[in-house]
Amino acid sequence: MLTTTPRLYTRRPSPTTAEFTVTTLPPPTIPLRILRVLLLALRVALVLLTALALHARWLSSPYAQPSLPSTCPTGDGWFSMEAVWYALDTLHKSSLGQLVGGLVENVPLVVLLPAAAALCYLLALRVHTTESLLVMRGLGVQTSSSPATYLASATSRFIPTEKIRDIFVNEAFRGFEVRYYLIVVVEGEENVVVVFPRLLPRRSIVETVWRGARACLYESRGGDTTEEKG
């Protein structure tokens, strides 16, 4: 429901520029937006809960300072450190806090810490993958790929026109399949650059992008070479 098979969006701001975006994000609808907001809220809540559990475990350890403010701060104090400690204390004393504290009390740290880290990583993973190819005649092409998690930033790579030797569609074994993929051969580099490396969209999309990219990059010469090279 949250993702679709990779879909292609083409944007042509000017005749000499084209951006091909392949994404698993479905077209935005109201239920989808609500669902995404709910999902985000759930993620935040789960991360906070993990932090609470870790703190509860810390409190039960002999190194923790026993003194915690037990008075409710007033006025400006709402935004001070004491207020945070007070809120935490209240949470720990609530039934939810008791439950979490009871759960993690007897879990050894060797298990708890990696588990918490893994959970946080899972919660930070993005649902959708978006990869794009920006083609600008006379300048070059730029491939970019959305990061796997919310914490990392997008990776992109620019290849200037004079370094591009060719763009073509190739096929190769991947896992138990043979897939089509678009590659850019860069001068002076041993490895080719795969466009849309994570999504590896289907042949129809790859071919459309290939035709569009060639037409945009080389103007009239687009598509006059053979389709694939072995």
């Binding site: 190769a172 074994f173 138990f176 399949e177 289907r202 129809s204 035709r211 598509g223 389709e227 090279k229």
Partner: protein
């Protein structure tokens, strides 16, 4: 004329280029001739060193080098089911109708045939080699062959001897085995000083090539041997026979090309008998050089102990050499008697036969200059492709069963069309043996379940199909077909 039906065929074998050999070139030549006849052919083999993935050869032959683990002499490890997902993917994306396996030692080929039957594709198997029945390895191979061939639609053997051998090994119905010989590219094996006879016949008459220059009484006769120096190629026989032949016939010398574990025996023989000036060993040569080596000689000696077909003696005859060979396997079927002298596979007889051949050459009784044109008429890959196509027609039902198998069905009146119903397939496998039958049934059942799982896990509609290679690569037609391809959505 009605348009012939064309097929998409997958040739599957462990043996393919870059590795040299007879099976390899057979697959390549057959594929390219089938493509000339309008079929679509792809080749599936395993990866060789850096040769992985999908490659194109000339004429649009597409080769899938499936990355796999190689165990022995370029044969892959028999991983019965692990090949299935990739194989299914390739078959669906290329829209394969017929799977054609080559080589009875190739496990890739056996697996492909098993999976193809499970997927409901027609299968053909070509056997290129002869096997014994006695030793443990042969028994195992034969059992495996029986397993695979009990459900194959049709088999092809390269010679009648090979057919007999295969029929016995796999307990097949002889009518379901066809004989289609190998062929050679006659243009690559022209004799020295060969002038095309069609050019000479300007007035419409074919003129015989000019008679070869008769040998001077003491002219050196060169005997050529080209073979991998393995035991089964008769290297021991050669080692024993050479000193005796050279002793009896003063103006002769040997030219030996090829390498292998038994090369050391030959070298020792040369040392012991001090024959360095009369026996020249060239080491291993490339296939393109074979013709140049052959045309240096007058007689070709082929001492093999077992041979299903023996393409090399056809090549030798095509180069205008008189052939002396052992009478084993399919060799006696290969060449007409005026081109060969046969010997029993034993030392005395090989020496005697070679002596006879040398005498005949000296007497000028052998018209070797005519051999090339005769061989050219007998063996051509186009003919092989034509006959293979007929087999494809027969198994897919394009020509009726009576047409294909003939009326004399040897008392068996049931249908020879292998249907794909699981229960019928299991019945065929069950007959393979008391224990083996049950084991094979288990294998087939698991394969079928695996197939259902794959259909669910990698749905058919998620697999992209490949565009066909544009055919008839003449200059203007090629561009137009690519244009048409480009317009397709």
């Amino acid at each position: 004329m009605a348009r012939r039906r064309t097929y998409t065929v997958a040739m599957v074998s462990d043996y393919f280029f870059p590795q040299p050999g007879g099976v390899e070139s057979h697959i390549y030549q057959l594929s390219s001739k089938l493509i000339d006849r309008g079929h679509k052919v792809i080749i599936i083999t395993h990866a060789y060193d850096d040769r992985k993935g999908v490659r194109y050869l000339t004429n649009g032959v597409k080769v899938y080098h499936v990355p796999f683990f190689v165990i022995y002499r370029n044969t892959t490890f028999p991983t019965v089911f692990s090949f299935f997902p990739v194989f299914r993917n390739i078959c669906i994306r290329e829209r394969i109708e017929i799977v054609h396996g080559h080589g009875s030692l190739s496990s890739l080929c056996h697996e492909a045939i098993l999976h193809a039957r499970t997927m409901g594709l027609r299968t053909v198997f070509t056997d290129h080699s002869l096997f014994g029945f006695a030793d443990a390895a042969s028994i195992l191979t034969n059992k495996l062959l029986k397993f695979i061939l009990s459900d194959v639609d049709h088999s092809i053997c390269v010679s009648h001897t090979c057919k007999e051998n295969t029929v016995l090994r796999a307990s097949l119905d002889p009518l379901m085995v066809s004989v289609i010989p190998n062929a050679i590219v006659a243009e690559s094996f022209r004799p020295r000083n060969y002038r095309s006879s069609s050019r000479a016949g300007a007035n419409g008459f074919q003129t015989d090539p000019p008679p070869a220059r008769p040998l001077a009484p003491h002219e050196m006769i060169t005997i050529v041997v080209i073979s991998r120096l393995f035991y089964n190629k008769g290297t021991d026989l050669l080692t024993a026979a050479i000193p005796r032949i050279l002793e009896e016939h003063p103006n002769t010398r040997f030219l030996i090309a090829g390498s292998g574990p038994n090369a050391i025996d030959l070298e020792q023989m040369i040392e012991t008998n001090v024959l360095q000036d009369r026996v020249q060993m060239l080491g291993s040569i490339r296939h393109e050089e074979v013709r140049d080596v052959m045309t240096r000689g007058h007689i070709y000696l082929h001492p093999s102990l077992t041979e299903a077909f023996g393409t090399v003696i056809v090549e030798a005859a095509s180069c205008g050499l008189y052939v002396v060979c052992t009478q084993v396997g399919g060799i006696p079927e290969v060449l007409p008697s005026h081109m060969t002298t046969f010997a029993k596979p034993e030392e005395d007889d090989v020496v005697a036969a070679t002596g006879k051949a040398i005498t005949a050459m000296r007497a000028g009784q052998v018209r070797t200059e005519k051999f090339h044109d005769q061989v050219k008429k007998m063996y051509s890959w186009s003919n092989v492709a034509l006959r293979t196509e007929r087999v494809y027609d027969g198994i897919t039902g394009t020509i009726s069963e009576e047409d294909f198998y003939g009326c004399d069905t040897g008392g068996y009146n049931g249908s020879r069309i292998r249907d794909f119903t699981l229960i019928d397939r299991l019945k065929r496998y069950y007959g393979c043996g008391i224990w083996a039958g049950k084991l094979f049934c288990l294998c087939v059942a698991i394969d079928y379940l695996f197939f259902l799982f794959l259909e669910w896990w990698f749905p058919r509609e998620n697999i992209d199909t490949c565009p066909d290679w544009p055919r008839k690569p003449s200059a203007d037609e090629r561009t137009s077909s690519v244009d048409a391809d480009a317009k397709r959505p």
